[in-house]
Symmetry: D2
Subunit: 337 residues, 4 copies
């Protein structure tokens, strides 16, 4: 059940109602003038309540807190150097793995030059094989933090398991939850208990509803600073691209949820020379930002070299993406509502 | 085997070589300064031949004629009112089905107003159920031809089987081969024997290679006026969109083949309100044109109503698409090679 | 609308009702004590009609004629040497392509020895590339017919297009419609106008409903001698097997339709050493028959060599399949209804 | 690199070689007469080594320890009441969730009656929505342990995260790693450090190689008591079945790996009335066991009711499966090698 209160909200009515619903028992969430009571499928309003309430709906989706019914306006996440969501457009870039202090700091300068405000890099790497490079661990986090700070950038890095949450939180502005962990529900709950922003990657065979339900695990623990990352899905079409970039998911998600949608063209296609056209396509599709991988020597990258943009190609890509973003904003008389 | 001759081409060498190869026997094709001999995996050049030849390669793909190795430069199809391919951008639009003379003529005016140069409409409809509307047949072709002519538009319409090829050719500028017939090899050969342009739709589970091999069936019969249509593939992700729009296929195809690539956002997503962002994404991805469905009364359309754009939304979409196309062409110092 | 009449059926009521429904207009089909009127969504029975009728339902699926609602009992197709459907189990085998008179006759003897009653072989081959072997044409049909006759076998062969239907019908007992032509609706209608049995292969991305609607195209033209062939679907999982054998489709289809379901493990997996376990799995899943490819020299087969069973492996496979079939029939007290 | 030593193995050569390889450095594993050195791509044998060695191969797959090259003979896991792998066939059954002490004990009796030797049940449930029943936690583990012990059954239950590994290990004979956690690499490493057997479920979009690499994470930590569970993959074909049961994966895996392969028809199809034919298909395909869900009141099950077999259907299913298993073993002169 979602209740929308009339504004100005009568706080006493809200509080009384909350207590009654929690006594059912039901989990209750209140944000601004909306209240959600999970699993409640019928309720008789008192006259006092009815007078304070605008609408009641019982057909909210299972991802209630993430739905537009519960929060019609876009979520905007405010970080020291970035705003993510709403009409903002956020570029995030960096190497796949943090490889050394020197390397990540060199890459961070390039990231900044391209207009990005968030630096990415993995210190704990979820690799298909146990014998592949697994990341520099806490050293990597420190190098990445310093590289970000020296360039006035925010930082995003992957957290892979519950025992690491607290430690990673000491360094990062944004947790990344990787595609393989999208339904690692224990991890989702753990980051949900922090107040660090979370970038949640879509799993490679996750439906739209799966993704929104995974986000709900985070939100239901109290952390609402969530954005979603479309990074390609697994289909039969896997000879020339690593995954199939599901750009249609971007406007679909924007109808269903208030969370920002960021596109990851690097993982979606897996080949560097396809990243520029796909980054362009993503901004045209309405993505509120992009996250891409760069490397100055892709052949010797510790991971995912084939999809890394060299610095000059990264700069070319960001120039084009920002130009398209401007063009899109300025088409006279054209809106998409 | 593909042979690239030095220019100016020595025609006598080409002709002698052709005869020798055909005597092997092998199917031989010559276009400009390239010769392809199908299935030939080794060949010892004479001194005279060697002197006239630039390069010989034996690792051409199975879709030799469609490959960039055989024809490096883009195919450009010239029609009375349109050029398709190369740096041209071609908008195609119209109703899913030709419903009546009056209706298709009304829609054609809207099509023209949006800047399209090709009118689409189905007179023979491949419907999932035999009890659904199957099209107006030859009457539909005539109505569509007249509607196109009255508005200085070219015409594209689907041909569904071999016995209809000759008749449909009397009316149309472009044959459309539908997704369900992409590997109807008899039909591909039949349209390959005509000189009418062919728009070949990707099948819903066709790989990139399948699509290029299907095009090869047309080309190997002598018809090289071919363009390819990306219209979405079938994946697990089918609750909110009819198919998954595989925009990554556009730059992939442009690396492999010289044929123009046209995007069909209407069938790709199947929901009208997703067509505008997906049409924008397609032009940003590098599509050389789009084909979309419109209807002024979608609820009562004879077929595919949910994905049809109303006229005002069609005009808004084309305005945005052309603006993005301009922006893309004008980003200073940014190219994609 | 499906009407089930009381038995014995009052023919005059049926005929009057049929005329009234056809005048609506609606397409009407009557088989035994069931009448289907396509697209009719409401109808007021007269008292006389009501007295003669057992049940009326308006929620028939779009594949009405193929549904269990319209025909509860299994379809059984009777051929000179085989019964297909119901409690019968039919083995079909042969080379992928008819390669020569001598070869197909040699293979036919092996087919017979393994207990099969239907000989398969392609004379017109739908190949991905136009430069691959396309079949022997009408010569191939004649060789296959003779090979079948000499061994008291029925014959199944693929028909690829409308102009060939009449000619192929002169030779074969069963038309095979290939996976790539499953939605070649013109071809489906053409074979529907004959009285030759049809084996309809599931398309590689066809849903269960797509397959049943394709069968309906055949049935709605008057030919009810149809069986369905599960031959694997296209999924992401394509490194070790050509397709994914969808054995769950067998019991699903048996709930929905009365047509026999035949399994094609050869195309489903594409590797000969997986054919025996998959053939065993198919019979255990309830398939009413199998169709497999054999060759005595797979390395030099004209097509699909990797999936062909050598004669001794074919004989081993059929022995196991028939043993499992017996075991399944004889588990005391176990039924599957 | 995999080295196979001559037998009897010269332990001193093995130990010296091990030290040299570890000094490279490389991870080294020795089991019986096989040694694997991860990532070593060339090595010059001394004369003494060469004399003690049968074969050296450098083309081992990334899942070296799980490969047939490293261990040709089947892994057999020995538990108090069950042997899993090799020629053994192991039935595992139980409710999806442990719902109460009384209920799970009632179900355990049914499980035993059907010939199963392992009791399944979830105490920690990975649910798509955070508002769904999440399991009874440690109480559930205790109830399940008691229910198993009272019926002389082994116990399998899911462990969802690293912090729970130690606690769950106190109760269970087998850890289940769920499909959503198949690439939760931290969890895989954690269970790899225990000596509790592990049943690893294939992820819903995991390739065969992904699955084997996931198992390698467990094995590389020292735990080799691993079996793999095929439980269906996600495809476009999802109207009538929850997933697509990929039975072809069973013989494919048996070629590649020595780990036992268990089939989970319940999750694969998601509908109880399809479980019996699919369980039969799995045993015919060569599965070395099955894991199925049962419930005496599926409509009120706390989770996954639609796929649960009622007791009488479970007993019918196991009877059929064991009969097919016998039939398969007894087909005279038929083997599958």
């Amino acid at each position: 059940m979602i209740i929308q209160f009339k504004t100005p909200v009568q706080e006493d009515v809200v509080n009384e109602l909350r207590q009654k619903l929690e006594a059912l028992p039901a989990q209750v969430f209140v944000i601004k003038n909306h209240l959600a009571a999970m699993g409640v499928k019928s309720y008789d309003l008192t006259a006092k309540e009815a007078a304070a309430i605008e609408t009641v709906t019982f057909d909210d989706p299972s991802y209630t807190l993430g739905s537009r019914q519960f929060q019609p306006e876009d979520t905007v996440i405010e970080l020291p150097h970035s705003k993510i969501g709403g009409n903002n457009f956020t570029m995030m870039a960096g190497p796949c793995s943090v490889e050394s202090e020197e390397h990540v700091k060199r890459m961070a300068k390039v990231v900044k030059e391209g207009g990005a405000t968030v630096l990415r890099g993995g210190a704990f790497k979820p690799r298909t094989s146990p014998y592949s490079f697994q990341g520099l661990g806490e050293d990597g986090l420190r190098f990445l933090r310093e590289a970000a700070d020296e360039n006035d950038l925010d930082m995003i890095t992957e957290v892979m398991d519950v025992p690491h949450v607290e430690m990673v939180a000491k360094y990062t502005d944004i947790f990344q939850i990787g595609a393989r962990n999208m339904q690692n529900f224990s991890l989702l709950k753990a980051v949900g208990k922090t107040n660090v922003a979370v970038g949640l990657k879509r799993g490679m065979s996750a439906t739209i509803d799966d993704l929104l339900n995974a986000a709900e695990y985070i939100a239901s623990e109290g952390n609402h600073n969530i954005f979603l990352i479309e990074r390609g899905i697994r289909t039969f079409d896997n000879k020339y691209t690593r995954n199939t970039f599901d750009l249609g998911a971007i406007p679909v998600l924007q109808k269903l949820t208030h969370y920002p949608i960021i596109a990851d063209p690097s993982h979606a296609v897996g080949e560097w020379d396809l990243v520029q056209p796909m980054a362009a396509a993503a901004v045209a599709a309405g993505a509120q930002g992009e996250i891409v991988e760069i490397h100055d020597d892709p052949e010797h990258a510790f991971s995912d070299g084939p999809q890394a943009l060299k610095p000059k190609n990264y700069l070319r890509m960001t120039k084009e993406v920002f130009a398209l973003r401007d063009a899109l904003a300025n088409v006279e008389g054209v809106c998409r509502d």
